[in-house]
Amino acid sequence: MTTVQNIFPVVGNQEVGAEIFILRFHAPAIARSSLPGHFVNIKVDRSYYPLLRRPFSIYDVEGDDVEVVFNIVGRGTEILASKRPGEGLDVLGPLGRPYQFSDVQYSTAVIVAGGLGVAPFPFLTRFLKKEEKQIITFLGAQTEKMLVPKRLANVHLATDDGSAGCQGTVVDLVERYFETTCVEGPKFFGCGPNEMLRALSQRAENLNVPCEVSLECVMACGLGICQGCPVELRGGSVRYSLVCKEGPVYDTSAIVI
């Protein structure tokens, strides 16, 4: 992986749900070295407000174009939503440690995504298909309009309000599925709010299924230099790992979520 920083041209910015956008920019250098689970760190404009870059998972790579998906939650994403094709975008990436999708220990990738936690999975799905893994995808959100069920395989939906798929949390849906269905050589690939990842990690442990998740946390640099993004490691004494550098993808057996 070679990390680069540059101004890349936006080639598209499409609203695909309730204040949810897929932003596409032309960045051959990033496209070439990205893997599923990597993220990019975007400076939304030249202002000092917001001051810091904003991290986004790589949603997909098509040719020399890179995509991210995001919803408007604050000033940074509000500015991102206003980007138009032709404008320049200051991107640093790819960053982080990707999902370990190619190991031979498992045969079915069980993708579990909460809300915008769907972000890394279209790109992962591409690679899983190349690896000829089975794929089952569970996707949950508060309501139908917050689901982005695109470019995934074998999708099962859950919404808190029952507006699409089953009513309930996505982890509950996974649990019920595993109760009734025999999944061959499963491995969980999770991404979403910490609460959901905690629940997933618990289920994975109970089911004795390997589980990798991509964590979110506040980041200042994304490069391993500020020490601002710790996650606690399991084990006796308190030790931390830096999410931006050693993560954002972790095997849940290694960390305290």
């Binding site: 000092y48 001051l51 810091l52 506040v218 200042a220 640099c221 490069l223 500020c226 308190v238 550098k245």
Partner: protein, 314 residues
Amino acid sequence: MVKTSFRLGEVKFKNRVLVASGTFGYGDDLKDLIDINKLGGIVTKSLSLKRRGGNPPPRIVETPCGMLNSIGLANIGVQEFILKKLPYLRTFETVIVANIAASSVEEYCEVLSMLESAEGVDAYEINVSCPNVKEGGLSFGASCSMTGKITMELRRLTKKPLIVKLTPNVTHISEFARVVEDSGADAISVINTVVGMSVDVRTRKPKLSTVSGGLSGAAIKPIALAKVYECAQVVGIPIIGIGGIMTTEDALEFLIVGATAIQVGTANYIDPSTGVKIVEGMRKFCDQENIDDVGTLVGTLESNKEISVIHSWL
């Protein structure tokens, strides 16, 4: 050709732009992104006697034009630094400044001694914004006498440039600057972060695990400039200006109020090449203004002394 270099004792810096402690790691993480050899110097993350894991999360929160941090001086410890980082760091053609943190005077001395016996450190910067364990955790940097004492003890142990990094969280920073100069320091760095905090109103919890933390970034530049200027009125030793420097113009402001050199901090998180860009920007500015040595800018503020009383009516 514009002259950019300057000296601190025996040590020659190729230009006046360094990167600040805690904002550049140990250099190795950024080697592929920027040309480190173009920097005047690298100040390491603060090194403590033992490895420190740091504070629990959250450690970072953004604020208007700034950020708060409460890292807890997470660092690999001086020994591991000497073994694992220093040999590589030395290969760069830039000045290596080891920043030292400790919780007692003895510990400061011990860390510095260990670095003295290793090879490759060119200068020291002392982070006095650390809790003095013997005084119930009060910051060394908030006590003039402790700051002086640390300087004096460390001075005995090294002939290399000794830079003391002052905290802005005091009434009269110039008093500290003077004491540090009198205690034998070769330079002062001004400023470390400003104490601040932030609250999540829904959960009613502080946004940093330690409640308060250190404010840095563009927001603090006016404060930092005033502190450098205050120090420049009383000391003769060089001042290294730090605080909210994002652009060449920011850096020049610091030189004009009296800083001999500057350090880029938080800006590295946003653009790791900020320092390199400022080196280039300073050169360009001097070209435009027909200045042949960046150093001639230092301390050239033109002010109407009659009305420039620092503590006057606002």
